[in-house]
């Protein structure tokens, strides 16, 4: 029996669909240059993809056909040599829209395997976001602005080929840099992309993540119903009506908190979250009314508290808010919990004000796809600069 190589690409649905496909396809094409057969495929359960919801794509390569067939017989690989995470906020976990609960980003990594993350951050804050793993693994940060585009217009900022260069460095048994460069030339006919892959190969460094490092929390999970608990036909209980909220200080009740789907939480669908300045809120209702995810709880005094069990980070609340800096979308990597902002504000308003200012200051704005014609052309040079410098 020969050797089987498995690589998974964890990406944001739709935003990075083309990117993930480009990477996983090119992995197989590069391996093919060395006579290794392989297959690239998206995870069935992620289709049809939704904007932002984590999804996976796999590249399976083997040294011979029989080994490949054995590897392909699985719905998805049980373990992988490399996990590629093309958005750093996915380090918090993967909550697929298929029914898995929240899975740690490093779950499928073999002991000693490598997690490649594209990010502007250093390794430490990303390690802190990843759940702890019993066995040590390597982490490689590919300096990059996480590349988001949409279904029709692709942002060609070389993220795809830079990751291929990084793989050649980490797993030389799979393919050499030379094979990667040959595959890139065949696929894109672009000498600059070939150079970008070589730069990533040269500059890549990894750090070892020990079992004592990372987020110690148990990932969100739930029990699947037993077959005898399922209703006749496909009848499922509806969500109960919601209830009033209680003020943590005065214990006054009022407002409204809807009950929510208990199994799908959107904890890892968002790349940003709204930070609300309750002192400047004019209670216009627009964030609450226009939120497609009903994520705002209405507090007893009529404020709107974005509940992090339901927010998927679309940013509509910020877009409709008429007060400057009252609702600001802040990069998800700046937060370590999903606690209520309103409770924090009720406990200590001065402290909260400082917290809001700090979060807003470094809010790390990011682009979630197409905003206007010509936007990607403006963004690519900055990325190519990073690609050149490594």
């Amino acid at each position: 029996m020969g050797r089987l190589f498995a690589i998974e690409i964890i990406y944001r649905g739709i935003f990075q669909k083309t990117l993930a496909r480009n990477i996983s396809r090119a992995i197989v094409l590069a391996a093919h240059k060395e006579g290794k057969p392989g297959i690239s495929f998206g995870r069935y359960g992620d289709s049809p993809e939704r904007n932002g919801i984590p999804a996976k794509s796999f590249a399976i390569v083997a040294t011979d056909d029989v080994t490949l067939e054995e590897g392909m017989a699985k719905y998805e690989p049980k373990d992988v040599d490399i996990t590629i995470c093309v958005d750093d906020t996915l380090a918090k976990g993967v909550e697929s829209w298929a029914w898995y609960g929240l899975q740690p980003v490093n779950k499928l990594l073999k002991p000693g395997g490598t997690l490649i993350v594209t990010s502007r951050l250093e390794a430490d804050p990303i390690i802190a976001m990843c759940h702890r793993k019993e066995t040590p693994y390597e982490m490689a940060i590919l300096k990059a602005i996480p590349s988001f585009s949409g279904l029709w217009v692709y942002k060609d900022d070389h993220t795809d080929v830079r990751i291929l260069g990084a793989i050649a460095k980490i797993l030389p048994d799979l393919f050499s840099l030379k094979s990667v460069q040959a595959a890139i030339t065949d696929e894109w006919h672009d000498a600059v992309k070939v150079t970008s892959a070589a730069r990533a190969y040269e500059k890549l460094t990894t750090v070892t993540v020990k079992p004592t490092q990372g987020n110690p929390e148990v990932p969100f999970k739930f029990d699947l119903p037993k077959w005898h608990e399922m209703g006749e036909g496909i009848v499922i209980p509806s969500i109960p009506a919601g209830h009033k909220m209680e003020d943590p200080g005065t214990h006054a009740t009022g407002g409204y908190k809807p009950d929510r789907n208990p199994t799908f939480k959107k904890f890892s669908t968002r790349t940003m979250r709204p930070v609300v300045d309750f002192d400047t809120c004019i209670k216009c209702t627009l964030c609450w009314l226009q939120c497609p995810d009903s994520c705002f709880d209405v507090t007893p005094e009529g404020l709107y508290d974005a509940n992090m069990e339901a927010c998927c980070g679309c940013g509509v609340c910020e877009a409709v808010c008429p007060v400057p800096n009252c609702v600001t979308m802040v990069n998800e990597s700046s937060f370590h919990d999903n606690a209520s902002q309103w409770v924090a504000w009720r406990k200590d308003k001065t402290n909260y004000k400082g917290w809001v200012q700090e979060k807003i200051k470094g809010h790390g704005e990011r682009s979630h796809g197409f905003r206007y014609l010509g936007q990607y052309e403006e963004q690519v040079p900055e990325m190519l600069d990073i690609a050149t410098k490594g």
Binding site: R50, G52, A241, T263, F264, A310, G315, M329, H368
Partner: protein, 342 residues
């Protein structure tokens, strides 16, 4: 001749006075698996809020079925049932008829219950149009058919539908190097068609989620007026229209303000332009150029200046040449049509 139509009383659903007077309760809540910034999910939320707790919702296949009731979980608070892709009309009629007969026979409490069947543009304007049409000719049953139009088969990754606008990029109309415009059909005029073709239907309207209060009051009117009614919502779709989800609200406004999506209602046969559309028609505000709408969406990124001009000319035609501007394309004389060269 005395009327033979006997529909049961409906719920008294007065218009909401302002956004500050809205009920806080949600009957379609969080935890659905839609995209970030999904305007159709917002439509479901506001529709349920407008209708209230005594409501039955039926959903034909599409995003709002697959995303909201998947893997043994849901975000519906009110009762909901799936129906086949083309059968929103029959499901609405059947449910309304069943309620009527169960109440008449005393098998359930006699009370007005809202029946709403929703369908996407694929399920409604394409596949379900005959069933919807049949339902709108049955005046004795109280039900609302709500079409959420994201201008494609969005659930299955954006194939073009009869509602897809001219030139848009979809899985079935990807622009190539040789041919740029792969979709030459104009959007089906569903609301106008339903109103013109069903004289007994008491209420047809068009809405947009960017004008939430207006939309909710329109749906409340549709539920309270009695008999079968039809409401058509244009829902910007970040996935299929290819834009940053934070723009969802703005793109909905642009659709109305550029005149691409006229808001109107036809109540007991009387046509009334509503909201911003009314202000545009009255000359109080200017129609924005469609360029503002098109250049914010990746599905039109392949458009040349000629394509944009052509799109504008067709919208202008809708406003200036149609006998009922923006509503029904009857004209006084034949117009020349010259699409841009490929």
């Amino acid at each position: 001749m005395a009327t033979v139509v006997k529909h049961d009383p409906t719920q008294a659903l007065d218009p909401f006075k302002s956004v500050k007077k809205l009920p806080l309760e949600e009957y379609f809540t969080s935890g659905h698996r839609t995209c970030q910034g999904c305007e159709s999910a917002l439509l479901m939320k506001l529709m349920a809020k407008a209708a209230g707790p005594r409501t039955i919702v039926l959903g034909s296949t599409g995003c709002m079925y697959v995303a909201n009731t998947t893997y043994y979980s849901t975000s519906w608070v009110v009762p909901w049932m799936h129906t086949q892709l083309g059968s929103s009309g029959s499901a609405a009629l059947g449910t309304a008829a069943a309620l009527k007969v169960l109440m008449r026979k005393g098998k359930m409490k006699n009370e007005p219950i809202n029946v709403i069947a929703f369908c996407g543009d694929g399920g409604g304007a394409d596949m379900g149009i005959s069933g919807i049409s049949a339902t709108l000719t049955h005046p004795d049953y109280n039900c609302l058919i709500l079409m959420y139009d994201n201008e494609s088969y969005a659930n299955t990754d954006i194939q073009l539908s009869g509602s897809t606008p001219w030139g848009a990029n979809t899985t079935f109309s990807t622009p190539g190097k040789v041919k740029r415009i792969m979709h030459h059909r104009w959007k089906k005029n569903m609301a106008g068609m339903m109103a013109a073709g069903h004289p007994e239907c008491k209420y047809v309207s068009t809405i947009s989620m960017s004008y939430g209060l207006h939309a909710m009051n329109s749906m409340r009117k549709a539920l309270a007026i009695g008999g079968p009614t039809f409401v058509h919502s244009l829902d910007p779709c970040p996935k299929g229209w290819d834009y940053d989800p934070y723009l969802s609200h703005e793109i909905g406004e642009l659709a109305v303000n550029t005149g691409v999506w006229p808001l109107y209602e036809i109540e007991n046969g009387v046509l009334r332009l509503t909201g911003r559309t009314q202000q545009i028609a009255a000359g109080k505000i200017r129609r924005q150029p469609v360029r503002d709408y098109l250049t914010k969406q990746g599905r039109f990124a392949h458009f040349t200046a000629d394509d944009t001009d052509y799109f504008q000319s067709k919208i202008d035609e809708m406003w200036t040449k149609w006998l009922y501007p923006g509503v029904i394309p009857f004209r006084k004389e034949i117009e020349a049509d010259s699409a841009p060269a490929e």
